[in-house]
Assembly symmetry: D2
Homo-oligomer: 283 residues x 4
């Protein structure tokens, strides 16, 4: 059915492990938690995030330096300065960072400063970007397009894989639908299907799917129960002051509480969320 070769499972047990660091690996028994704000706003903000999450089982930080915004008149991100802030936080706190790359021209800079390069929903079928990321020696986080079929999503991954980079993690982040009570509709059936069809790890972004902070914790639990290999969740030291997506950002306290509440669900399906151990990575 699907015109893909490398992304599809060659046998039911086939799975590609994608390593963010030596100890943070997607696709294994451990579930990976990524937290952080929609956009990098300042070093102080990112330090507050790293501090606030330092004792929680969160293995990576997120934060956008290049922001794809509907209008050119909206905040577009700090750009290179944002990347340097991420790298500085990574240096000080020993935690890997994930950030979005929007074009082939940005790849070199993003790959220099970040541990994992995210392709956003709007660029899921930016094929020239995907091909170029096939030549990068860092793991890629590929988000599903707003209305992408599974065939298109798998095809997009195949572009990266077939150009040489096998370290691809898929991310379901909600699809566009008719009701605007939620921002998007989280499609956990797609997560289950992708885990069955492809060899790639699959994580879930409940923040963009829900668009409302009060829905995120139950959806995060559901994602783990459905078999997701990780979660990427938006949180902010002061959610109400977030420059973008304020309604869906958790406070750091809510984030810590959420991540702890996921542990029993993980155990119920025979998996675990490993507490972040700074020394392991800093060593």
């Amino acid at each position: 059915m699907f015109k893909a070769q490398l992304a599809l499972k060659s046998n039911p047990e086939a799975i590609t492990l994608v390593s963010l660091t030596d100890t943070v690996v997607f696709g294994g028994q451990d579930i990976v938690m990524i937290g952080g704000p929609c956009a990098v706003e300042s070093l102080a903000q990112m330090e507050a995030v790293a501090n606030g999450l330092s004792l929680a089982p969160v293995q990576a930080l997120r934060g956008g330096a290049f922001k794809p915004r509907t209008s050119p008149h909206s905040f577009q991100g700090l750009g290179l300065e944002g990347l340097k802030i991420l790298a500085e936080v990574k240096r000080r706190y020993g935690i890997p960072v994930v950030t979005e790359v929007m074009s082939t021209e940005q790849i070199e800079a993003v790959a220099t400063y970040a541990d994992m390069l995210q392709v956003g929903s709007r660029n899921m079928q930016n094929f020239e970007l995907l091909k170029a990321l096939g030549h990068v020696n860092k793991p890629i986080l590929l988000k599903r397009g707003l209305a992408a079929t599974l065939e298109e999503f798998i095809g997009a991954a195949e572009y990266i894989l077939s150009h040489g980079n096998t370290q691809v993690v898929l991310c379901e982040r909600g699809i566009r639908s008719f009701d605007n009570y939620t921002r998007n509709v989280l499609d956990l059936g797609a997560v289950v299907a992708l885990k069955q069809l492809t060899c790639l790890p699959v994580i879930v972004d409940p923040s963009h799917a829900a668009g409302r902070r009060e829905l995120i914790a139950p959806l995060a639990k559901a994602a783990i129960a459905a078999g997701a290999d990780g979660l990427i969740i938006e949180c902010h030291p002061q959610p109400e002051k977030s420059v973008s997506d304020a309604a869906q950002a958790l406070s750091l306290e809510e984030m810590v509480s959420l991540v702890h509440s996921l542990q029993p669900i993980a155990q119920a399906i025979g998996r675990s969320i490993v507490p972040f151990s700074r020394s392991l990575i800093a060593a």
Copy 2:
């Protein structure tokens, strides 16, 4: 936002308990499991189902006597004969039965034989049917329309409630979307939102959402983790011979295995699936 009064929570803790029997209650700490075939085909079939599930924690049987089919040339259900089969199985096995009612004319018969009356997706806004069900003294299982907004779903429940029947359980069963790998998209964000907005119990039908049996177990787990108060799942003694929806029916063995596998998830969120005890109900 929503033009509803009775269906909406008056305070965050408000919840309506809906009793199927003295011991099978929706909306409490226990999660209710409903299983059975798409359509009632024969007494032998329904007995095989009741037997096969008799030792599993399944608290109610489903089975359609009146079937809403896209084409008038497809099997339309056994009608009154199907209702009598359901009642006979209930008598012999002491298990309550849920079945669909498609029109006001059918209400009297269905209410005579069944313990819970289901309104199908296609009739979610059949307002005359909803009003009439407001005068029935049996619990109602209201399925979400194929493309119903939360406002419309809550409004439909309000029709029943405002006509006098407060025993309504909502059921999310997948919404229509653009990808046909799955039959529909299970909208667990809606389940979370409905639990927060309304006082009504909310259950999930992963069978119709997925349309593929291999997706059902993980989605069932996700639904429990998201906070669903119950599940309704299609199973059949010989799935490949099912007269309708064969691709999504579990075998009875798969059903039993699935239900047992949900127990740890329920416990992880502080709930439980109570083993069906024939004597308790038969007593």
Copy 3:
């Protein structure tokens, strides 16, 4: 592909002519225009409509007596009184009337007073209603469900046809989609496909599709150009005072102007909109 027999064309030229009166026929060379308010509010209102449209090429009046509303707390229509108002206007102005029937119980009354019975979108798969309308000796206007596939729409028509009533007109009225700038998305591709696949006349409701009055005239022209056999358009003596759907109602002056502007489009494709001649019908 489609499990229908009577609704599908037996040969490419097959077409069912559906007669509203001796001179108002759907499916022929003439295009039929239906106008009127969302809801019948009073005799004065309906007389104002009939008067305002009396010199325009509008061949039938619409107006809801039974209104399917999302909330039970919204205006539900005048019911039987509304039907009598329609009949009185029909008597005085000699113009046929179309109105919605929401349940089998209402059929007798609606069929007594109205010339054509409309099945609304929410009831497109209310199969018991469809079957009952198969036994009625009046033409049926079947509106497409909010998210109905062509197969489901054709299947719904087949229910009416296969129960004996061959006088069915299909109506495309916009489908549910992701952008809420318009209320729905008018699917003219469906109109073209239905004309090719079925033998039934197909008309278009641009008012519900657009939900904004400023979009209606261009969409009405497009519908004629695509091959629609008629239009049903909402208009009101005082649109801003309409009890429902005010944003999409045209004033009577706008309605008259619109209908006249459609004539050149009709002629461009070899059809025509016949001026309403009171005497022809009153005779």
Copy 4:
């Protein structure tokens, strides 16, 4: 409502004329017709197209040299060779050519050989590409994303405009929906709304919307009636041998016939399709 400045009308009459050549202008009284195959396959193929359409009122040729395909294992287009073929056909037949650009790296080459640069649906929110096209001195054809809201579509245009290039034509090409009888749903309501909201010309691609050749002619007529400023339609010397999108390609004879049949519709709304005059452009 919309965070755009340059793309929105400053007054109801404001319109930006976009010139493809001295005589082929989008947004004026004349309607512009663009025809050609999905992909440039060979010089012989493109010459056959140019020849076959030479006496028809078609003002520009289309043909993809860089093809965005779901799978990397599908034909990706002839690339630079395809651009040179387009330029050669343009030289010989004096007809301007439109072709897709998929990345900033391709801009220079595409702008060298083509008269108008198309941004495909998948790249509608490839913001780095849009910004770069803001610095190009050629008109841009911006196709709507598969599930783009009007706000997002207008925002995408604003990216190009705000970076300096005001020569942007919008193209509605069908949106993703739930029924797969047609490939997409042509959203003519969006065409009407965009004409009212923005100062930019709006054209329609009925080929990608329908995905079935038998639907294209009526949809093309509807688009003209709705107010579209042009059409872009796929045609091929041997549709059944087309390397991509064969089911939606018209034969050259069908294309010529279609374009002629649009003239009466254009006249009915006070516009016209100007016959292509080779000498005017060759001069």
